[in-house]
C-alpha cells in the first residue's frame, strides 16, 4: 500500500500567471540569445570596421552601406534574390495547395505518401543540396543521362544545369521548391482540415462542382493560413544561402548570387565582417515590410 503523498504548500508553480511566464521563458530566452543578440551584433558591425581578424572596432558611420550600394554585384544580387524568392514561392503555393488537396482525401498508403513528402523538410538542407549537386553535375548529371537514354536529348545536346545562367537559376529554384514544398503543404493541409464538414456538405447539396468549390470555399477559407505559409516561404528563401552556396556559389558569374550569399562571401570568406553585416542588413527592412503586409492581409482575409 502506498503512503499518501505529502502535501506541499502552494508555490509559484501553482500560480497560473507565473507558470505561464515560466513556460514562455525558454522561448523568449531562445529568441533573445539566438536572434536578438546576433541581430544587435550585426547592427554594431555594420557601422564599424570589423574584420574577421580584429577585436577593436571603430565607428565608421554608414560607409559600409555606401560601399555596398556602389557595388554592382550588390544590385545584381538583390535582383536575383527577388526573382529566386518570387518564382520559388509561386511554385510552392500552387504545388502546395494541389498536394494538400490530394492528401486531404483518404487513400491507401496515404501515410507513406505523407512521409515521403515531408522527407525533404526533415532532412538537413546541406545534405539534400549535395544530392542535387550530383544530379546537376556537368559530367554525371542523372537528368541528362536519363534524357539521353530516353532519346529526349539531341546527339550533341548536353545541358549544363549549373553552368548556364538561366538553367542555373532554374536549378536553384527547383531545389528550393523541393525543400519548401513540404512545409507549405502541411500548413495548407492544416487549413483545409479546419474547414467544418457541414460547409462542404452544404456546397455539395447546392450542387457546387470542383472549381466552384475550390474558388468559393477552399481558397477563401484557407487564404489566411496560405498567406502565413507564403510569409514563411518568403522569409526562408530570401534569407537562405545554403542552396546557392552548395550548388553554384553565386555563379555562373554572379547570376545566381543573392544577398545572403554575397554577405557570406564578403563577411566570412573575404574577411570583411562589417561589409558582410551591412549587406545582410538590407534584408531586414524588406522582410519587415513583407511580414507586416502579409500578416495584415491574412487578418483581413479571415472569415469569421
Amino acid at each position: 500500500m502506498r503512503a499518501p503523498a505529502a502535501r506541499h504548500g502552494p508555490t509559484l508553480l501553482d500560480d497560473e500567471r507565473w507558470l505561464g511566464r515560466l513556460l514562455l521563458a525558454p522561448a523568449i530566452l531562445y529568441i533573445v540569445l539566438l536572434v536578438g543578440f546576433p541581430f544587435a551584433i550585426g547592427l554594431y558591425y555594420s557601422v564599424s570596421d570589423a574584420t574577421v581578424g580584429t577585436r577593436t572596432l571603430h565607428f565608421v558611420g554608414l560607409d559600409n552601406f555606401r560601399l555596398a550600394l556602389e557595388n554592382a554585384t550588390f544590385w545584381q544580387s538583390l535582383r536575383n534574390a527577388v526573382v529566386f524568392t518570387l518564382v520559388s514561392q509561386a511554385f510552392v503555393v500552387v504545388l502546395g495547395k494541389i498536394l494538400a488537396m490530394a492528401l486531404y482525401r483518404d487513400f491507401r498508403g496515404k501515410w507513406l505518401v505523407r512521409f515521403l513528402i515531408l522527407l525533404p523538410w526533415v532532412a538537413p538542407i546541406s545534405l539534400g543540396s549535395i544530392g542535387w549537386l550530383w544530379i546537376f553535375d556537368p559530367v554525371y548529371s542523372i537528368i541528362n543521362w536519363m534524357a539521353r537514354g530516353l532519346g529526349l536529348l539531341a546527339p550533341n545536346a548536353w545541358p549544363i544545369w549549373l553552368g548556364q545562367p538561366d538553367l542555373a537559376m532554374a536549378s536553384v529554384i527547383m531545389v528550393n521548391v523541393w525543400r519548401l514544398l513540404p512545409l507549405a503543404t502541411v500548413i495548407i493541409l492544416g487549413g483545409l482540415c479546419s474547414i467544418p464538414q457541414d460547409i462542404h456538405d452544404a456546397a455539395a447539396m447546392d450542387g457546387a462542382g470542383f472549381w466552384r468549390h475550390l474558388f468559393l470555399i477552399n481558397i477563401p477559407l484557407v487564404m489566411p493560413i496560405m498567406l502565413v505559409a507564403l510569409l514563411f516561404g518568403i522569409v526562408f528563401t530570401f534569407t537562405d544561402m545554403i542552396v546557392i552556396y552548395v550548388l553554384t556559389r553565386g555563379g555562373p558569374y554572379d547570376t545566381t548570387q543573392v544577398i545572403a550569399s554575397l554577405a557570406f562571401f564578403t563577411g566570412i570568406q573575404g574577411g570583411d565582417l562589417a561589409g558582410g553585416a551591412a549587406i545582410a542588413l538590407f534584408l531586414f527592412p524588406v522582410l519587415v515590410a513583407v511580414a507586416i503586409l502579409f500578416l495584415t492581409l491574412a487578418r483581413r482575409a479571415e472569415v469569421t
Binding site: A5, V52, D137, P138, V139, I160, G251, G270
Partner: protein, 459 residues
C-alpha cells in the same frame, strides 16, 4: 453564437495527485534533469589525460589520403610521445576552413595550430609573429623559398602572419593521346587554344580550364593573367588591373572558351576538373597532381594517358600559381603556443617523410629538407611513365604566389576569396559583358576592397 467562458473559468485547476504525476512535480523533475544535464560537464570528473600537455591542430582533409594516415596515425603520435603531449588533430573540408577560423577568433579559443590553404593576412592581428619559427628553421635548413615569404610576410607591418611548410605545384594536366593525335603539346596558352580547338572538333572533348567561383579557377585565371603581363596589383600594392595586358588576357580567355571549351567550366567546384579529367571528358586541366594520384591509387583506366606539363607560357612569361599554399598560424589565444612552435620546427626537420607521404603533392618550402627531390620525382613507382613527375623539378622557376608581383595581403585575400577575378574572366568569356567592361568593373571592386583594408592599416 459561441459563448465565451471567463478566462478564470477556462483555466484547468491544478491538483496534487497522489496516484499520478502532478504538473508541479513533472516541471520540478524536468527542471532538475535539465539542470543536471547542463551542469554535468562541470561536476562530473573528467578522465585524466596521460600526457602533461595538449596540442590541438586543425587542418584539411588531404587530397592524398595516405598523407593524413601518416600524419595522424604515425607522425603526431611519435611526436606526442617524445614531447609528453597529447596531440589532437581535427580535419575539415576545404569550405569549412574559413568559417572555422572566423568562429575560433570570435570565440577566442580553438586550436593551437590552424592550417589555411592560402595566405590568411586578414587574421594578422590575431596571430603571433611567426618570425621565430622561420629563424629557427633557417638556422637549421637554410632560406625558405621566396614563394613562402611572399605568402606569409606583411612588408608594411614587418610581421610574419603565418608559417608555410609547403606548397603544391599547379602544372598543366593533359591527355597525351589526344594531344599527340593533333600533333601538339600544350606548352603555351596559344597551343592550348589551337590544340584544344582541334581536339574538340575531332573528338568532341573540350579543354577544361575552370571559369567558376572556386579555388582552382582562381589559380588558373591568375596564371593566364600573369603570363600575359597583367596583375591585380604592382609590387607596391597599388591596383593596376585595368591594363592593356589584362585586356589581352581576357580577350584570349574569351577566344579559348568559345573555341575550345563548353559551359561546364562555369559550373565547376574545386574537384570537378579532377572528375572530368579522370572521366575522359576534358583534354586538359590546370590542377595539382591530385588527378594523376587519384587515378593511380584507384587504378582508373586512362590515367597513364594523363601527363603533366609546366605552367603554360603567355606572350610575356611562363608562369603559374602554387595550387595550394599550406599556411599554419598560431593564434595569440592558443593554449599551447610554445608546443605549437616546437611542433612546426620539428615538422620541418621531418619534412622529407611528409613529402613522401604526400606522394610528392606537398613540395618543401625549405628545399634543403628534401635534398633528393629531383631523384625521387624522376622515378616514381606508381607513375606510368615513371618519370611523369620529373617536370615538376623546376617548379620554382614558373610558380608564383597569389598577389604577384607583390605580397599576399588582406585586400588580395578578399579579392581572391570573393572571386572578383574569376567573375571578370567568366563574364567576358561567356559574352555576358565586354572584356573592357568586365575589367573596369573588377578594377572598381578591387580598388574598393584595397581602400577598405588600407584604412584598417593592414595594406
Amino acid at each position: 453564437m459561441a459563448t465565451k467562458m471567463p478566462a478564470r473559468e477556462r483555466r484547468t485547476p491544478i491538483q496534487d495527485s497522489s496516484d499520478g504525476v502532478s504538473r508541479r512535480r513533472f516541471i520540478e523533475a524536468a527542471g532538475a534533469i535539465g539542470a543536471a544535464a547542463a551542469l554535468s560537464p562541470f561536476i562530473m570528473p573528467r578522465r585524466a589525460s596521460a600526457a602533461a600537455k595538449t596540442l590541438k591542430i586543425l587542418q584539411w582533409n588531404h587530397f592524398v589520403p595516405g598523407y593524413d594516415k601518416w600524419f595522424d596515425g604515425t607522425y603526431v603520435k611519435e611526436w606526442g610521445a617524445k614531447n609528453d603531449t597529447e596531440v589532437i588533430v581535427d580535419h575539415v573540408g576545404i569550405p569549412a576552413l574559413a568559417t572555422r577560423a572566423a568562429a575560433e577568433v570570435s570565440a577566442q579559443q580553438g586550436h593551437d595550430l590552424f592550417m589555411f590553404l592560402s595566405p590568411p593576412p586578414a587574421y594578422e592581428e590575431q596571430v603571433i609573429d611567426h618570425r621565430e619559427i622561420y629563424d629557427e628553421c633557417i638556422r637549421k635548413h637554410g632560406k625558405p623559398v621566396d614563394l613562402a615569404v611572399r605568402s606569409t610576410f606583411n612588408p608594411k607591418t614587418k610581421k610574419y602572419f603565418a608559417f608555410s611548410d609547403s606548397y603544391v605545384p599547379d602544372p598543366v594536366n593533359y591527355r597525351k593521346d589526344l594531344w599527340d593525335d593533333v600533333g601538339m603539346t600544350p606548352s603555351t596558352w596559344d597551343d592550348i587554344r589551337v590544340g584544344g580547338r582541334k581536339i574538340k572538333e575531332k573528338h568532341n572533348i573540350p579543354v577544361g580550364v575552370g571559369l567558376s567561383a572556386e579555388l582552382d579557377t582562381a589559380m588558373a585565371v591568375r596564371a593566364l593573367l600573369f603570363s600575359f603581363g597583367g596583375s591585380e596589383q604592382d609590387e607596391q600594392g597599388n591596383i593596376v588591373l585595368n591594363s592593356k595586358n589584362t585586356l589581352e588576357a581576357v580577350k584570349f580567355a574569351r577566344a579559348l572558351y568559345q573555341e575550345a571549351m563548353t559551359p561546364q567550366v562555369m559550373a565547376w567546384d574545386a574537384s570537378s576538373n579532377n572528375r572530368a579529367m579522370l572521366a575522359g571528358q576534358v583534354s586538359l586541366a590546370l590542377n595539382a597532381i591530385s588527378i594523376t594520384r587519384e587515378g593511380e591509387n584507384k587504378n582508373i583506366p586512362g590515367t597513364d594517358n594523363i601527363w603533366l606539363a609546366k605552367a603554360a607560357a603567355g606572350p610575356v612569361r611562363r608562369i603559374g600559381l602554387e595550387h595550394v599554399m599550406d599556411c599554419y598560424v598560431i593564434w595569440k589565444f592558443a593554449a599551447n603556443i610554445e608546443g605549437a612552435k616546437k611542433f612546426l620546427i620539428d615538422y620541418i626537420d621531418n619534412f622529407h617523410t611528409g613529402f613522401m607521404a604526400s606522394e610528392f603533392y606537398n613540395f618543401p618550402c625549405f628545399a634543403a629538407t628534401v635534398p633528393d627531390l629531383q631523384q625521387q620525382i624522376a622515378k616514381d613507382s606508381k607513375a606510368r611513365p615513371a618519370d611523369k613527375y620529373k617536370v615538376l623539378g623546376d617548379v620554382l622557376d614558373w610558380a608564383t604566389n597569389v598577389g604577384y608581383p607583390g605580397y599576399a595581403n588582406a585586400a588580395i585575400d578578399e579579392i581572391f576569396n570573393t572571386w572578383v577575378i574569376n567573375t571578370m574572366f567568366a563574364k567576358a568569356a561567356s559574352g555576358a559583358d565586354t572584356p573592357e567592361n568586365a575589367i573596369k568593373e573588377a578594377e572598381a571592386q578591387c580598388k574598393r576592397i584595397v581602400q577598405k583594408w588600407r584604412a584598417k592599416g593592414l595594406v
